[in-house]
Symmetry: C3
Subunit: 307 residues, 3 copies
């Protein structure tokens, strides 16, 4: 996705947020199919709500309802079938590349709602929209990423996209065992206006950050319980640590969280992770409308005034 | 819920029943989330149909689709997330108190669709609406409750609420092993205009009853098979027993039934348990519209004429 | 279902296909319940999309969500309950006769979406609509049926219905082990204008066919793996075999396919099996509207011009 496209979707998301009633019939008569080969309730509900709030309708299956696959049907065939039902598809699949296979087979647009390692581009759009909403910009920021930087695909995708926008200083905060992979660091290096530092000490850098992106340390990523228990609590954000942060800092998290952000932080105005959920729905609304070719009523006029 | 609120919802349910078309767009643009952590198809479909028949939309999950929870997300976090998607939530959870936790975390209204022991307030509303529809009143009646009065939360909730309305004579019909708990009897005693008697013989009292509320003797409540088999068939309502009842008596049952009401009873005009299903949907429509702040078109005018 | 009714539904399906926007609110305010006691994603999505594209709404359950049944509720009771929620029901059940039981209990129309051995009448309607769309007629054709003709209920139902229309020459192509049952052959014999031949050699007859209806050889039909492996690949349709067929031949398949039709065939204009999916949705739209008593706007005028 080009940077202009991303900027456009984020702009449309902001418009939608302030004009819910105006856009409520944008996709009337259209049908979204959510094909979730693995359960991901939050993401599924976000895509579905987005479509319903645009006046469209939703069909689909999730997890245990996956039946045809068990009769040996390929993803390609399923998509060719569903192309006859829906105007747009959002697919979630445990295998990497599944979304690409789906998009090639389908005769309607296909959105990747995550395939393999829980990567999904619309999460990155949600992250970017949240940063934009909080700071009015995506560049000139110091962005800390904290926790599991090895397996956290959400983090990799965000770093890569912010690097393309440029002008970002990354602070990569993780235990030595869960550092950012080299190919992600190479992406930062490839952007002349970006730089990074690595540290294992959240407290020593938290005061520098505009954005603190926390991630879950997933139990299933570890080979043994001891390693998990030793590390999972290391980077917990609480009120005490937050006291050292800037008053304008934004705390993001892809959710679900386990305990990496203490509940007490929720009340702090810097907590942006539930706003992130809202932004996720809004960018999905923008994306769905765009892929269906449905213009948001009033958007062009608003954009001209805003610009 | 106050008695006035209950009366108001029952009155609105009656209005809705006669004005389906008028109310068909009352909640247009609104989204209900049904979060069913345990399956309860009937209740879920009732809430969902109610919302759809008001012109709203539905998202949600049920049973096997519950995924985020398995990643360790708390109910509070799920509700904070879903508050960004939906305008109203109906939650069903196996743990007592889950609905209260949910309501505190959510920034949208939350309806308890059952938490712990299958208690759920909207079932009681359905029961009351059915009695009101059949008799035009909730007081001055002799109400028999038959079957499992120990574990049947539906019964406890109905007895408690009718006691608050007052003027009811309860006849508690159960085997000795499944009598009504003391705290429920205390509720009746606390109402000066209510009284009760206990018996184990349905036939000896059936002729006195205006309402006969049958309950299922749930197998899972018993420690051994023998006790279950001995008791489950004891209080079966059939045509023969019904021959001793008043022509105006109403037979209620929260459903699903197993065999405690013989199929042959279904044809009898006194069978009110499928009407009860309809009343359940209608009171849920009334409740959903009320919580969303959407006035039922034409209701106020109708109410003035009725009163 | 009478032949006139079938012709009418197929005619309406054709109208719907060309007038999607006109029919988009035909069933506004109506609710379809899809009660799928066994998973069948494709069929469920077809029924649901059909209803949504007519402006109606959908409730239901599928597979793992079936809960009340596990509490011992009969199909009859479930249907009596759901009759209070929905205006129309589509039921799928593993037991033969379940749909009939459901229809008798319900107070709203019930569509059999498959009961026992995956028979379901709307699949046959989809098959017929596809043949009609390709050839402009249902008679005067040579129709080959290939694969598992013993257990394939779809095939039996299609043969039976085409025999009633008459004027069809059937070519029954299967291994000796999977021949068409005698009662199906009797149906053909009972139609004076129909005839059939049986063969085990697809290639020798493919040049004669107007329609080639391929079927899946289901693994679960065989008692041992060896028989399955020996037979399942015997009747695979590929480009080479297709080279011997008429340019106008239509290849149908009820889907899902495993490998009985090579992927390379999909690009051939004779491949009609994904069109069949579309026709399936269209006839379901026609059927749902008809059962709900909702006339398709503009249909009568269009029909007079067409006739």
């Amino acid at each position: 996705m080009g940077l202009d496209q991303i900027r456009d979707l984020i702009s449309r998301a902001a418009y939608i947020d302030g004009h819910r009633r105006q856009v409520a019939k944008t996709c009337e008569g259209k049908v979204l199919a959510t094909l979730f080969y693995e359960p991901s309730t939050r993401t599924r509900l976000s895509f579905e709500t987005a479509m319903l709030r645009l006046g469209g309708q939703v069909i689909g299956f999730a997890g245990a309802q996956v039946s045809s696959a068990s009769k040996g049907e390929t993803i390609s065939d399923t998509l060719k079938v569903v192309s006859n039902y829906a105007d747009l598809v959002a697919i979630r699949h445990p295998k990497e590349g599944a979304a690409l296979v789906a998009a090639r087979a389908a005769s309607v647009p296909v959105i990747n709602a995550g395939d393999g390692g829980h990567m999904h581009p619309t999460q990155t759009l949600a992250d970017l929209a949240t940063i934009q909403a909080r700071f009015g910009k995506l560049t000139g920021l110091t962005v800390g990423l904290c926790g599991d930087l090895t397996f956290g695909r959400t983090v990799h995708s965000l770093v890569e996209t912010l690097s393309r926008f440029g002008g970002v200083r990354f602070v990569l905060i993780s235990p030595d065992e869960l550092r950012c992979p080299k190919y992600v660091l190479d992406r930062i290096d490839a952007s002349p206006s970006c730089e990074y530092e690595q540290t294992s000490d959240l407290l020593s850098v938290i005061g520098d950050l505009d954005v603190l992106y926390m991630t879950r340390v997933q139990k299933e990523r570890f080979f043994n319980e001891d390693d998990y228990l030793r590390l999972c609590d290391t980077y917990i954000l609480d009120k005490d640590k937050l006291a050292h942060a800037k008053p304008s800092m934004a705390v993001l998290h892809p959710l679900p969280r386990v305990n990496e952000i203490a509940q007490e932080v929720d009340q702090d105005p810097r907590a942006a992770y539930f706003q992130q959920v809202k932004e996720g729905m809004l960018v999905r609304m923008a994306l769905e409308a765009a892929l269906l070719g449905d213009e948001l009523p009033g958007y062009q006029a608003w954009k001209e005034v805003e610009a």
